[in-house]
């Protein structure tokens, strides 16, 4: 069930340049299931900005009724969100969408998690759940630069973790694909979230493998009603088949939708 709830800010801290970690508490957490689901956040009670902001769930703590998001403060909405302090209330709609299927991999098998920039956060809850069920996880995290990187240690605690930065200031210089080129990494299932060019590169490389990609799109409603976030389906001769990223996704099996 999707809920709308004024959730309590338990903590908010800046964890890297422009990157904030926000923990919220409320009953909506009870509904959270799969890693990779997201919430739609109203960043202020007024009309400026008007629309909610979709943000992935980065970590869930059911016992405390809390969950955490990690986001980049960039535009109007996320900047306002970052000004919230402990004790404030934030209007959250969620949990939304379908996340990464953790039961598509067995205990003892190996999952490769590849994240780029603000695509990294949902992989953290995924890594936690996979490890919990006995699946080994390897992580490749790509960032622009060292000062915008985050959660390297948290991921390292769960499994082998490679970092790539575009400017080479941390880990491998270049993209996550450079890490793949330079290391021989074996895995059973791939899970990834990040910018479309990255996802495209992975799609080419891992065509035919078992893999799940989380996509992004500008959203209106976030629940499937407005047709803002639609994608073409691959292998559709009619050109009229589609999925909605908000309600059918954001996670899809590799090759299912046309990346644009």
């Amino acid at each position: 069930m999707i809920h709308q709830e004024k959730m309590l800010v338990v903590s908010q801290k800046q964890i890297a340049k422009d990157i904030f970690e926000l923990t919220l508490q409320g009953n909506l957490v009870k509904e959270m299931e799969e890693p990779g689901q997201f919430v739609h956040i109203r960043t202020n009670p007024g009309l400026d900005p008007l629309l909610r902001r979709p943000i992935s769930i980065a970590s869930i703590e059911k016992d405390k009724n809390q969950f955490t998001v990690i986001y980049r403060s960039e535009g109007k909405g996320t900047r306002l969100l970052s000004q919230n302090i402990e004790g404030n209330e934030v209007d959250v709609l969620g949990p939304l969408g379908n996340g990464f299927p953790v039961d598509e991999i067995n205990s003892g098998e190996t999952a490769l998690l590849i994240g780029g920039g603000i695509g990294v956060p949902p992989l953290y809850e995924l890594a936690k759940q996979l490890n919990k069920q006995g699946t080994k996880t390897i992580h490749i995290l790509g960032f622009e630069t060292a000062e915008k990187s985050f959660y390297e240690n948290k991921f390292s605690e769960l499994g082998e973790t490679f970092i790539a930065t575009v400017d080479g200031s941390l880990g491998t210089s270049g993209f996550v694909t450079n890490v793949l080129d330079e290391n021989e990494i074996h895995f059973d299932v791939l899970y990834s979230c990040g910018p479309t060019p990255m996802l495209k590169a992975l799609e080419e490389r891992f065509h035919g493998r078992k893999a799940y990609l989380s996509l992004e799109q500008r959203m209106g409603c976030g629940i499937g009603a407005c047709f803002a976030c639609v994608c073409h389906v691959a292998d559709d001769s009619t050109g009229s088949k589609y999925v909605k990223i908000c309600s059918d996704g954001p996670v899809f099996p590799i090759g299912k939708v046309v990346l644009t």
Binding site: L47, D48, L50, L51, M219, G224, A225, F227, C229, Y242
Partner: protein, 313 residues
């Protein structure tokens, strides 16, 4: 007595609040939040003859107190709507207003004829903001004669009353309203979106893949209020008002301007519970205003305070 009950051509509304077309899909998603039977009516997403995929993405962009959309009328097409969407909606005790769109008169006529016989469709809403392919892409809704002709053709085949949805992108909204009234429209819905655009600051590229789109949300409310104020004084058919409604006060303002019912569009996205919330708040508001029935408010702005002067800025 139900203080919110409104009778309009074809529509017996338990209250005057309904979601606007395109902002509520075919109801399924919002039925997760509340019982759709509480609504006065539902204006479903535009239906075209054939299924449409719509425009490439991005299809939405935010603006100050508003948003742009260029969805491109994505919908499952007449057959899909008749086979799946409308039957599903029959479980609710709520009249459906079917939004009809097309690129040629013939499309409208065929959709109107067939959709108007569905048991829960109680009225049609003609979306005339669409580009008219035969007239070189100029919207049906910007030339009174073209809009009137379309209205007439649809009226001939429709089994239910026809409301024409006016586009605000015209110099003379009253002339447009009178033209479609004369052509037989049973009511008006207004306003559709204003044409707008946003460009990406880093690249200069239009944010919408379609480049321009329709501006909706609170930003456009003053334009809608002005148009309804002008039109309601000059026509004898009822108006369902819309454009930026975000509160119960806004609903009252639309009634004062001359609306007999209202629709909420964009704000469903920000607040999925907005329609039931307003429905719940309305009786208290009527008490505050000391009126027995909401219909007493319709047109108060001009009935009590006289007509309009000219303006120059």
């Amino acid at each position: 007595m139900n203080r919110l009950q409104i009778e309009l051509p074809g529509l017996s509304l338990k209250n005057p609040i309904m979601p606007a077309s395109g902002c509520f899909g075919f109801g399924k998603e919002y039925s997760q939040f509340y019982d759709l039977s509480v609504l006065g009516a539902i204006m479903i997403k535009a239906t075209t003859l054939e299924p449409r995929y719509g425009n490439p993405t991005p299809r939405v962009a935010e603006t100050s107190a508003g948003m742009l959309n260029a969805i491109g009328l994505q919908n499952p097409g007449l057959e899909g709507v008749l086979a799946n969407e409308l039957p599903w909606l029959e479980q609710f005790d709520v009249p459906i207003i079917a939004n009809v769109a097309g690129s040629e008169t013939e499309d409208y006529v065929e959709v109107a004829e067939k959709i108007s016989v569905a048991p829960n469709v109680k009225a049609l809403e003609l979306n005339i903001s669409c580009p008219n392919v035969k007239k070189g892409g100029i919207a049906f809704g910007t030339i009174p004669e073209v809009a009137a002709e379309l209205t007439k053709r649809v009226k001939e085949v429709s089994s239910v009353p026809v409301y024409v949805k006016l586009s605000p992108n015209v110099a003379d909204i009253v002339g447009m309203a009178q033209a479609v009234e004369e052509a037989g429209a049973d009511g008006l819905t207004m306003i559709n979106t204003l044409l707008g655009m946003r460009l990406d600051i880093k690249t200069g590229k239009p944010i919408l893949a379609n480049k321009s789109g329709g501006l909706s949300g609170p930003a456009i409310k003053p334009v809608a209020i002005r148009m309804i104020y002008e039109v309601s004084q000059k026509v004898n058919i009822p108006i369902i008002g819309m454009g930026g409604i975000e509160s119960t006060d806004d609903v009252i303002e639309y009634f004062y301007a001359g609306a007999s019912a209202v629709a909420v569009g964009t704000m469903n996205f920000t607040d999925p519970f907005i329609c039931p919330r307003i429905i719940k708040e309305l009786p208290g508001k009527l008490d505050e205003l000391k009126v027995t029935h909401i219909s007493e408010l319709t047109g108060r702005s001009w009935k009590m305070y006289g007509a309009k002067a000219n303006h120059c800025s």
